[in-house]
């Protein structure tokens, strides 16, 4: 809507942030507040040694696994709860309970009960995310248009056809919303999981550099992973969303 002025404004905002950061580091003049260049230096050094990419990849794999599991289970449970009143009554208190258990408690319990394993780590993250997906998709299932379901019944749509062409397109905005917020939440929890019980990944590295009080390295790893997530947003999520919304003349352009 703002048209061509938008990109320069965004760029100016980022440059302004870097300038403020440089200024703050210059005033502090302490290794605990490194400037952007010091952080960039660490990132380049870690990248050259290959360490950075190894830990980024490990964390990304955990994020992906937990994300897929949480979305899959959460969608199935959420849709079932949205359509079946009795099931909703039975499961609703569980969902409220899960929503309110601190992430840390779930992580610790998973490590204790399952052991310090990859399965425990990914399960802990997924369990943290599932209730959010359930709540969002339950709303989606409640918003399903009964008129289209009737149309499909009259024209004798098969189950597969009904799911793929009638139900799923209506749920997509809800799946997209759950996915967006999910990705952001999950990678933060993954770092905690790595910090508490894994010996690789960005969370583990941050833990390591925390013990060494190396703030530049901590910021370097955090920013590198933020960059990875931004790449995913711009190269995967947004093009995918535009493709799925192609039938909606407006939403595609306003979502960008």
């Amino acid at each position: 809507m703002e048209g061509p002025t938008r990109t320069p404004l965004r760029l100016l905002s980022i440059l302004g942030f870097l300038a403020l950061w440089t200024l703050a580091a210059w005033f502090a003049a302490s290794p605990e507040v490194p400037g952007p260049l010091a952080v960039l230096d660490v990132v380049l050094r870690e990248a050259a040694s290959g360490e950075l990419f190894y830990h980024l990849a490990v964390t990304l794999a955990r994020v992906a696994a937990a994300f897929l599991i949480a979305m899959f289970i959460g969608t199935a449970v959420g849709v079932a709860m949205g359509q079946r009143h009795n099931l909703n009554r039975v499961l609703d208190p569980w969902i409220i309970l899960l929503l309110n258990i601190p992430a840390l408690v779930v992580i610790v319990l998973c490590y204790i009960w399952i052991g310090l394993t990859e399965v425990a780590a990914i399960a802990a993250v997924a369990i943290n995310k599932i209730p959010n997906v359930v709540v969002t998709l339950r709303e989606g299932a409640r918003a399903l248009d009964p008129k289209l379901a009737e149309m499909a019944q009259v024209f004798r749509f098969s189950r597969g056809r009904l799911l793929r062409h009638v139900v799923l397109p209506q749920l997509l905005p809800f799946i997209a919303a759950a996915g967006r917020s999910g990705l952001a939440l999950i990678w933060k929890i993954v770092l905690v999981v790595e910090l508490l019980g894994r010996s690789n990944g960005v969370g583990f590295q941050i833990h390591l550099y925390f013990q060494l009080f190396d703030v530049a390295a901590i910021l370097g790893y955090a920013l590198a992973f933020v960059c990875v997530m931004l790449f995913i947003e711009f190269l995967v999520v947004q093009p995918l969303e535009a493709h799925l919304n192609r039938w909606r003349p407006r939403a595609a352009s306003s979502a960008a």
Partner: protein, 223 residues
């Protein structure tokens, strides 16, 4: 809402179900379509597995699928390419939709969207076609063109048609037979054949027929 409601449809004829708003016409259609199961009564079909199709009050198209996909999705999964598959090209041409096949429903006017709903209903080659005020909230000119198209398709396909409407002029111009529905609970209060040939249903002849109808069924026709 309905009680002692009984009627029989003659194969390959065009019947209109008329009655005041809210008397249960749509409910009757929903029962026939199997969408409303909270009733006691019987629906007898001359043969099992007859194909039903419907045109609803709203077009009820899938907004995320193109016009052509909307029509194709209504077809049975197998036999889309097989022999006996409907000639979609001809159907789209008859309805003037050949240039709209790749459009999405949100890009269509209401008149065009209703044509797509008609195309979808005729594409499945229904034995019985049920229409629920398919031309409501269109301007009279557009509605007239769609009525003519409906008659043309009905003649081509030899389908049994039951159309719900509260527009008596529309009913008299289209139908072979009028079923009057009224009362609370509602039932069929009149069963009138329309003896005029369709070409003669205009001007003075139509006016006289409507006047007679008004005299005989004032509470249904004037409502």
């Amino acid at each position: 809402m309905l009680r002692d409601l009984a009627f029989e449809l003659v194969p390959e004829t065009f019947t209109c179900l008329i009655g005041p708003s809210g008397c249960g016409k749509t409910t009757t259609l929903r029962i026939l379509l199997g969408l409303d199961r909270d009733f006691s009564g019987r629906i007898e079909l001359p043969a099992p597995g007859l194909r039903l199709a419907a045109v609803f009050q709203e077009p009820r198209l899938l907004p995320w699928r193109t016009v052509e996909q909307n029509v194709r999705l209504a077809l049975p999964a197998e036999g889309t390419q097989a022999a006996g598959a409907p000639d979609l090209d001809r159907l789209f041409a008859t309805l003037g939709l050949q240039d709209s096949r790749r459009l999405y429903p949100d890009e269509l006017s209401l008149g065009l969207a209703r044509r797509v709903a008609l195309a979808r209903a005729f594409a499945v080659m229904p034995d019985i076609l049920l229409l629920d005020e398919p031309f409501v909230s269109l301007d009279e000119h557009t509605a007239d063109r769609l009525r003519a198209l409906l008659l043309e398709l009905w003649r081509q396909r030899a389908t049994t048609v039951l159309m719900v409407t509260h527009n008596i002029r529309e009913a008299v111009r289209l139908a072979d037979r009028l079923l009057m529905m009224n009362g609370r609970p509602a039932r069929i209060v009149g069963d009138v054949a329309v003896p005029l040939p369709r070409a003669a249903r205009c001007g003075e002849t139509l006016r006289c027929f409507l006047q007679d109808l008004n005299r005989e069924h004032p509470e249904t026709v004037l409502a």
